[in-house]
Point group: D2
Chain length 348, copies 4
Amino acid sequence: MLRFESDYGEGAHPRILQLLAASNLEQTPGYGEDHYSEEARSLIRTACRAPEADVHFLVGGTQTNFIVIEAALKPWQGVLCADNGHINVHETGAVEATGHKVLSLPAREGKINADQIRETYSAHYADESHEHMVQPGMVYLSSPTEFGTLYSRAEMTDISRTCRELGLFLYVDGARMGYGLMSEVNDMTLADYAALCDVFSIGGTKVGALFGEAVVIASPSLKKDFRYLMKQRGAMLAKGRLLGLQFLALFQDDLYFRIAAQADGLAMKLRRAFLEQGWKLLYDSFTNQQFPIIPNNVLQRLSGDYSFSFWQKIDETHSAVRFCTSWATVEESVDRLIADLRKPELEH
Amino acid sequence: MLRFESDYGEGAHPRILQLLAASNLEQTPGYGEDHYSEEARSLIRTACRAPEADVHFLVGGTQTNFIVIEAALKPWQGVLCADNGHINVHETGAVEATGHKVLSLPAREGKINADQIRETYSAHYADESHEHMVQPGMVYLSSPTEFGTLYSRAEMTDISRTCRELGLFLYVDGARMGYGLMSEVNDMTLADYAALCDVFSIGGTKVGALFGEAVVIASPSLKKDFRYLMKQRGAMLAKGRLLGLQFLALFQDDLYFRIAAQADGLAMKLRRAFLEQGWKLLYDSFTNQQFPIIPNNVLQRLSGDYSFSFWQKIDETHSAVRFCTSWATVEESVDRLIADLRKPELEH
Amino acid sequence: MLRFESDYGEGAHPRILQLLAASNLEQTPGYGEDHYSEEARSLIRTACRAPEADVHFLVGGTQTNFIVIEAALKPWQGVLCADNGHINVHETGAVEATGHKVLSLPAREGKINADQIRETYSAHYADESHEHMVQPGMVYLSSPTEFGTLYSRAEMTDISRTCRELGLFLYVDGARMGYGLMSEVNDMTLADYAALCDVFSIGGTKVGALFGEAVVIASPSLKKDFRYLMKQRGAMLAKGRLLGLQFLALFQDDLYFRIAAQADGLAMKLRRAFLEQGWKLLYDSFTNQQFPIIPNNVLQRLSGDYSFSFWQKIDETHSAVRFCTSWATVEESVDRLIADLRKPELEH
Amino acid sequence: MLRFESDYGEGAHPRILQLLAASNLEQTPGYGEDHYSEEARSLIRTACRAPEADVHFLVGGTQTNFIVIEAALKPWQGVLCADNGHINVHETGAVEATGHKVLSLPAREGKINADQIRETYSAHYADESHEHMVQPGMVYLSSPTEFGTLYSRAEMTDISRTCRELGLFLYVDGARMGYGLMSEVNDMTLADYAALCDVFSIGGTKVGALFGEAVVIASPSLKKDFRYLMKQRGAMLAKGRLLGLQFLALFQDDLYFRIAAQADGLAMKLRRAFLEQGWKLLYDSFTNQQFPIIPNNVLQRLSGDYSFSFWQKIDETHSAVRFCTSWATVEESVDRLIADLRKPELEH
């Protein structure tokens, strides 16, 4: 069985395991105050061209999202988000559990835009009884989105400008940041994220690490005492160096970018193969997640040898499914899948 | 200026003020353990034919909603609700502030139905990753709804049966309960609410009281220690008798029902007048809130003498507005408004 | 039965009921935006010599405390408080329910001092692992305290200076503010509170109102959007004028001060009577709460005609009890109690 | 520099790293539903003789504590705890952040007893106004405690019986469980914990793992939907097998017990050396943490070559410090430290 159903099915890039083993018996201070974490923070600041940024390492994505959002919002504020946003549908109400409403906006291709943000903000204050409604305090985006799509630099700049004008924090969830950055259609850099966002994350879990998300805080007003909240919410790993050394390995020699590029390349190969078959794509993704609409009989045939995620029913004979590549996907697997895709269906 | 913009613009029915004055220097135990509160509870139990029900008096509607919902839900559960539900849009995220997501469903005429509840529940458990999503734990309805519409006994029975089958609590927010019960299209009784719901409220604030909502808990599993939560959330009035004696006055001699009936009657008079003008109604309400769609020039003319709430723009020349009657509305005011409605517009 | 067990056993001063009745059928905007509330705010600002202060009216004391504290603190901060403080022991964990720890300090006569605050603050930051502990963010005092004692102007100035130096908010819970201000040993004014505190409350519930606490916010950084939190936490009364007109009545013609002075005078009369009997006082209170230590046989005898609160066992034959006077206590009651106190015990 | 200042300074036992490497490219389902986690759960159930217990793997100790406590308590309940308990002082108010008060009791040698629990419970319900106070809902113990001391089976049985009689949940935080179980004075087994507690944890972070705590839920009423809360609070690791395989390694061939026994043995060697010097122990610990009271000049001399934690000042010339051994401590280090301890101080 070749698995394409997620990008977190394997362990970690071998370089991470090597560093883990090499450092195993070294004694270091806990809670992220070790030299590995410090070096990793330094490399990330450099990669972001943000020497003043604060960088923290957290364990997982849900944790990262609710802690960043809680740190930024006043008790009566909520966070704007695409209706399909991870915080809105797949985190068991983690943001609400910190007391904040997720204010969802209808998304197109998984994305929202500056106009929607502005309209929501204006509608709030235009209403006489705005104190009876949750006050917008932050905008949450993910890029790549849940559907593999990306915000362009123009879109992101527009959103950033709008947020700054309106006094809203802007947070980008980069759980799949690597796959976004290396996409052939991407025009954003880490430095752009640092310049345009107040805070964003660089995901490790899905891009080569065992686990771990780096949070980059660019906005001075969000920096103070962030570690207190990490500790309170269970996100300050005792052996914090485990996070530091993973990001150290990932940001040395551009490893993070190289493994993401490879995964994207294989995803593009798959994408072309789907299109060659004449199959439509549910979302126009140029990153490691692909959402082809495939005849059910083909899916049935493939499901014996390949795992993938059912996404949604399209009609009586077609379904959209998700195929993921990852840092661990090998070209042979993709080629075999493509070969099998192309096999003609047998007549009944 | 005659005010029709809300049903909480005046103080209280004179009988309440009389009882307040008559009892003023009496010394009673605090926190709802006085004899007025006990008598009021007893009258309400009788009116609900629910001798075993627990009855508590809280100060306001938002408070009532979030305390009832918090008392019922596990930390990872959410409450299903019409998208226009008061808890979803007009309580500044009070439910989320207790840690729970509001799971909104698209409403028709302000209402949701048993099928939607069942589908949402089924979709939750059908999803492999249901633990990553908020678990449905309760259904919140209001009747009358925000739009003045009512759930029929058939609808409510259907919803109740569905909730019981699925293990969801059913809560009805009765902030305008009186106006619902006395509506000419209503077929529900307080006894029906007690039989079909786990918990519901009987609103005082909008139906003759200075303030106050009675919470009727029918479900044994919700009764225990409810007063602890009231105290914790600031809902246990020191001079609790103020709430008790208001509900005592309202439930003696059917005062609550009589004043609500009068308000409904005046609203029906208005409704007929709107329809006679050939104006459509945004929602088909038979309670004290009416939502006519009126030409803007007429609204402009009326706005000098009458206050009402702008609801939404319909087209370039028409708007939907809200007119409320209340226990305090006098027939003369309604008649004068109707007479003015009927005046032909002057030519320009 | 003459009741001395609390200061919230009766309704309200007659002037409040009169204003309530006189205004009953007037239609006003809701949620505290009416002219009564505006006038009351203005009178309170004047009384506090704080023309820039924000004044809000909330329903009850627990509600006031947790909302003020929640508005001020970051998620990882706690509030310092005397171990016997109301928020620490008698509010069912209302502050913790908003996510914040109450950091209790050992009190003397119900009070804490500037040195304790400074030591706690220093100990926090001296600890290498301070991020693993709750960060002090605010100091909560009550004056009068739970034990009827008062902070002098010197003590309050010292605490205020310390808080400002350390960057801690200072909040004074004035649930019994009137009885404190009019005490014969008091040297604080409302203007002093406004000058020395960031925020404080002026209690109505125990000083002549049916219910209601005025919150005076002096610190600019606490003013913004306070009403959002009031709404979210169920503290924004629909008919907000009910609060406004009560404080209007109380702050016209110095009513608040006059009724508090009368209650204090009667309490002093009781105090002198206790001391004349040779009885000790558990706390040295010069406000409306008195805590005499009385032989159990005397208490037994009195308990048939007078109600009072058992406070604590002192030894096998003596108990400390609490007698309260209030705005509603009449001199005849106090005189009768004193006469009965003085009766010699019968021999067995 | 030889480090004795904590038991989480190194990485993990080599067997864990081996298993990590061996399984690295295997694709498994996420979120703890892999076969490694299942095998580890099975081994732990067997070790606890609790075939019906639920076992979950969480990332860290603070996270484990607040999630277990939140899962068990009603919103108005608090958790009883020794005043020095980790949840009370060193988790940045994590429990309060979930809305629950920590009700601290004065501890002796870091421990509380059944009588204290019973008295606190009785005092709560004896108070007329118990609804104004936080309701006791759970007892939290740690064993070993923060001070290295242990609850005996007699003490634990007494506490368990008391909790069951009173309807309180009993939770034991076993962050250092291994060092407790293998202590020469211990008479508890994992099976005893499973029989006497409702829920307890088995710490991995401090006993050989990179990170991870196993939660064993014995009480049926705590089992339902626990994973929802794990997800909501950021404790459900995407690559959950990382936790499973660590506990698998630890519970195969009694590795967990063997490495803990070795650490305890070295700690006893240190303990004897301290006592031989005539130094007192601040706490009478027979586990891996030792708290000797040592002359300051000796500490000064040692601090060049050894790291340890300053604990508290005893008098002008003595301090209590903490020395920890761990699964990673080698006998040579301990021997060198002991030799240095014994060196006579030079005269000045």
